[in-house]
Symmetry: C2
Subunit: 452 residues, 2 copies
């Protein structure tokens, strides 16, 4: 009898493997890994520090390595491939799906690529060339050629006999694709339609002709949105002349959805898309240093702005004490708007027709927030420092900066997008610069004017 | 012949609808909406400002409303339901899947819920009670009861005849579930196995007994991870005694994956999970104000820390100019680590066995970053202000704060998780508080000690 899935199974296994590795029981680990499903081995590798990961990989059965590679996340996969011999890479890619094969090959340095392709046999080499011919992040690069095609003018009985003769169907097959003799896509016949209709009916009567096909050049995020909206399990891919080229399956789409969502999350913190949690220290610091460098520049810029008011600060040091509050609130309010707009762009809710409304809405929220928080901060500071004029100056700066944060948070990603710059990556640094500088100017400038 | 999908179709449509609405051509919009697929209508509603959304909803064919509601994101759906009459809600939920029905009913205020259930007929009411009996965010709440079950001791031929007799299969059926006479789950027979084997074979010989079933109480994120790892299209759900209760399909899992990934993104900015981009201004500001309030407290706390050094600031106003740099860099470095750890927890890569390694790794990155950026900032400031001692003080503070940021960024989410507090929601505010206060103390404290 099948057993219900144990929730902490991978964790238990990870503990076991780590223990065995530490005590040098390699044979035991090897046999454990041989009995582990490739997807679980992949999780194990992803959850291991890079040194243990390298040892583990050596202990994975060579016959299973291709399957494990397919399941790994990109960054981890690349790290492992970088240490493999070209002929081993060629062997591991033999049973890979076309899309994974393309991804692996694309990631190789030129010389290694030549060696890997050189180590392949002729049909594999052809498959590799084909897989590489599609643009990265397009429907073509997600596609597999493992379609099952039938003709429109045969009966279901013929189809049933053909399938039995054919034997196994590709994983995730839910539809048979109906094509004419020129391989032009005509429609789909779902397995459920095939199974629930009388076998003397003809395919043409039952096939779904309204089924949408995906153009080979469509962007993968658009493909994912279609899958998500229409609840597809698989979808046919066609060229410009409607020739059937292959199909895309939901498992690859799930990866795209996950990656797209993580892209926004990681980019907003200036991290690389596929950053591996357990990468070596040097590699990680290198990846993060660009972002820190950019931030240092903006922090210096803010310092330069503050330096214009050095005389004011010398006369009224309490301004230095309070100077962090307005930029901080502006940064938080702005990044709320920014995050929401970036998410809205990513899921396709924001477009030309509603941009204006969005901008006005965020402006209104900024103004409303501005009123609330400026009154509050004015009260707190007036009582704390017993200086009502100081409270009023802080309130004015707070209001100005929260309004600016609303406008900047909504418009920066839209402008960046129009300039074809990734809003998730560049948005937050531009925003912080704006809210920092406006915040400092508004507070110290008004204070210089009114309090000195 | 089916046409390849037009990429900007929803945008075109949105423009068209907005134009027609603005010129008052309601009849035209109504007939347009009647020809639109429910998933596209849902996108249209989600992309519309709330006033237009309300008008649009009135123009949606009542027979299609249930389907559209199913496709809507939670926040938007709730907004629409809040304006519907109980009997209309009851009618719209009639054809809903069990999981969507449960979600809708759970979201209703108590009195409305009573009225809606009162307006249902008896079988629907029973279904509603059943759907509500499962815990929110559990496998049960994701599940539908639309399984197709067969017995192990019949031949494929019997199964084929049964399916033909039965007619239509539920959407997304890829497996038939094999149960004994007590409805205990025994295994699955995939449609592809059914189609590619000789019809005189017996189900028991061909069924997959190793197939894992999902316990009804499993958390939905864990279920999603299983689907993702194993590339499932559907999976059976069982109770503690292995009785088959229903199945979960990939389309609902895609929603869970999207929501989980967005949860981290939105929570890190202090936004509500299901925040609707086009919600009314008042509702949005209210949702965002808690976060701004918390941030105001931490900014005040930082100001209080700075106020300890007011004398120092009065003597050396240049310190006030530079005071923002160290906390800013600490905040950015810390949030990089924080984001990565939160992502790692969400995808299941971080657990007890590798926490220690992770902490040490981030500490090392913090120290390395600390050396790089403190040397750089010391040089810049020493030259700018022509004060080498000031440069050294800034460098020391920078190093301390970047090390603190690494430790805090890695440990805060792990500690919060152990305290069962959502790290994505509380993490960044705790982190900023730590890096702000340590940054100010380290810089102004050292300066007071060495420069005054």
């Amino acid at each position: 009898m099948p057993e219900a899935f144990e929730q902490d199974y991978p964790l238990q296994q990870l503990k076991q493997v780590t223990k065995s590795l530490n005590s040098g029981q390699f044979v035991q680990v090897r046999s454990m890994l041989a009995q582990t499903a490739p997807c679980d081995t992949a999780l194990l590798l992803e959850s291991s520090p890079h040194k243990i990961r390298r040892m583990l990989w050596q202990l994975v059965d060579p016959d299973l390595r291709g399957d494990v590679l397919e399941e790994l996340s990109e960054d981890v996969r690349l790290g492992i491939i970088a240490q493999m011999e070209p002929e081993h890479i060629a062997a591991a890619t033999e049973d890979m799906d076309d899309d994974d094969l393309g991804e692996v090959l694309r990631s190789l340095p030129d010389t290694v690529y030549q060696n890997v392709v050189g180590a392949m046999d002729s049909p594999d080499r052809e498959r590799a060339t084909q897989a590489l011919s599609y643009q990265e992040r397009s429907a073509g690069a997600l596609m597999n050629s493992d379609t099952v095609t039938i003709r429109p003018d045969v009966t279901l009985d013929v189809v049933l006999r053909y399938l039995r003769l054919r034997g196994e169907l590709p994983e995730g097959t839910d539809d048979l694709y109906v094509v004419d003799k020129h391989n032009c896509f005509l429609g789909v016949l779902s397995l459920t339609t095939l199974l629930t209709n009388s076998s003397d009916k003809v395919v043409r009567e039952l096939m779904d002709e309204d089924c949408e096909s995906i153009p080979i050049s469509m962007d993968e995020s658009d493909v994912a949105q279609l899958f998500e909206r229409h609840n597809w399990i698989s979808a046919p891919v066609v060229d410009d002349n409607d020739h059937l080229l292959g199909r895309i399956t939901i498992d690859d789409i799930v990866d795209v959805i996950r990656e797209d969502a993580e892209h926004s999350l990681l980019s907003l913190a200036g991290l690389d898309d596929e950053e591996d949690t357990f990468a070596p220290v040097l590699k990680s610091s290198q990846k993060r240093s660009i972002w820190l460098g950019v931030n240092l520049l903006t922090a210096l810029l803010a310092a330069i702005v503050a330096s214009f008011f050095e005389n004011t600060l010398a006369i009224l040091p309490v301004l230095a004490v309070l100077n962090g509050i307005v930029p901080s609130m502006g940064g938080v309010a702005g990044s709320q708007t920014l995050t929401l707009v970036i998410r809205g762009i990513a899921v396709g809710h924001i477009n030309q027709t509603n941009q204006r409304f969005l901008l006005l809405k965020e402006l209104a929220i900024g103004a409303l927030n501005g009123v609330i928080w400026s009154v509050l901060i004015a009260g707190v500071v007036a009582i704390w420092q017993w200086d009502f004029k100081l409270g009023a100056v802080l309130a004015f700066a707070m209001f100005m900066n929260l309004v600016a944060a609303g406008i900047a948070g909504a418009s920066i990603p839209l402008i960046l997008k129009r300039m074809k710059i990734d809003p998730a990556l560049a948005g937050s640094v531009v925003l912080t610069t704006v809210t920092d500088i406006i915040g400092i100017f508004a507070f110290l400038g008004t204070a210089t004017w009114l309090l000195i």
